[in-house]
Amino acid sequence: SLLQGSKLEIPLWLAKGLHDSRRRIISVELPKIYKEAWRTVFSADANVVDLHKMGPYYYGFGSQLLNFDNPENPEIAQTILQATEGGPVLPASNSVCPPQTFIARFRRIMDSSQNAYNEDTSALVARLDELERALFQVGQKGLNDFQCWEKGQASQITASSLVQNYGKRKFTEVDG
């Protein structure tokens, strides 16, 4: 059994279940990346941060963290969303928050996913968190479908990639 005041790591879903603002069974400590020091880094230049390394579910996890009544919650919510460069500064806080991160990084994700010449997207994608990666892939697909169509490949019948992997004996081998 646990002693009061001991610290341990538990999965988020468990913490959510145990959390109750009235009974205060547990209190949650913010992971580093959501704390003030890191929030300042995001405000300087959100594009620099390797979100995949810091926690591949930055946005999702960050949103879930807000379930625990933490006094820094408004600042965290802001940072995750809001825009840094030239964006409107909210009166309530002078530190920057996750929505700003999303907005600041949005441009780069959009431009590179729609870029016809796939030069160095792998370097960028490695530093995106899962939400951003899914978005990136959607953008790429839109572009790839268009280019495919433009070349006239949309009306060509091609073997499905699933079938090609079956490794069935090909016709020529059977003839032997």
């Binding site: 279940g17 109750d20 009974r23 995750i80 969303l81 964006g87 907005i103 949005f106 441009r107 268009f146």
Partner: protein
């Protein structure tokens, strides 16, 4: 939507052909076509024009906007203005691809035309991205973009709507007193 579906819709647009056969009026579900007389220009939907061309039963007449001078004007205007220029056809991209692929022999300076149309497309797409970015940066509630064609919307639409969905969810985090449905023990 797939680009092929957008192209399907584009094929309903009318284009002028000069047939080399004759046929009385035909009555199709979508409407009447013809009559066809050799040497006399007649308007038909693109899907039929392409089919006839492939069977060597007609010659295609390019639409009047598919001309180097006109396209250069359009391209230059697109580069100059911040807003989107009205395009000569809501399906300019699709028509260009179809006509140039199947009937380039009937279209003078086909290569130049292809390049001009592509340039215009690239400029418009860049404008669209710029517009999307400023929309996101300023967290606007809604925007109005005139003169976009379906193909352009289709290529970037899914990305944009998903990104805005995410933004919306993150923004609702900012509301104080958000519901967390915890159970009572």
């Amino acid at each position: 939507m797939e680009p092929a579906e957008v192209e399907f819709l584009a094929e309903k647009e009318l284009v002028t052909i000069v047939p080399n056969f004759s046929l009385d009026r035909i009555h199709l579900i979508g409407g009447d076509l013809g009559p066809f007389n050799p040497g006399l220009p007649v308007e038909v939907p693109v899907w039929l024009a392409i089919n006839l061309k492939q069977r060597q039963k007609c010659r295609l007449i390019p639409p009047e906007w598919m001309d180097v001078g006109k396209l250069e004007e359009i391209r230059d205007q697109e580069r100059k203005e911040d807003t989107f220029t009205p395009m000569p056809s809501p399906y300019y991209m699709e028509l260009t691809k179809l006509l140039l692929n199947y009937a380039s022999d009937n279209i003078p300076k086909a290569d130049e035309i292809r390049t001009l149309v592509k340039d215009t497309w690239d400029t418009r797409m860049a404008k669209l991205r710029l517009s999307a970015d400023s929309f996101v940066q300023q967290q606007e509630a809604h925007a109005k973009l005139d003169n976009l064609t379906l193909m352009e919307i289709n290529t970037t639409g899914t990305f944009l709507t998903q990104a805005l969905d995410h933004m919306y969810k993150l923004r609702t985090n900012l509301q104080p007193g958000e519901s967390s449905h915890s159970q009572d023990f």
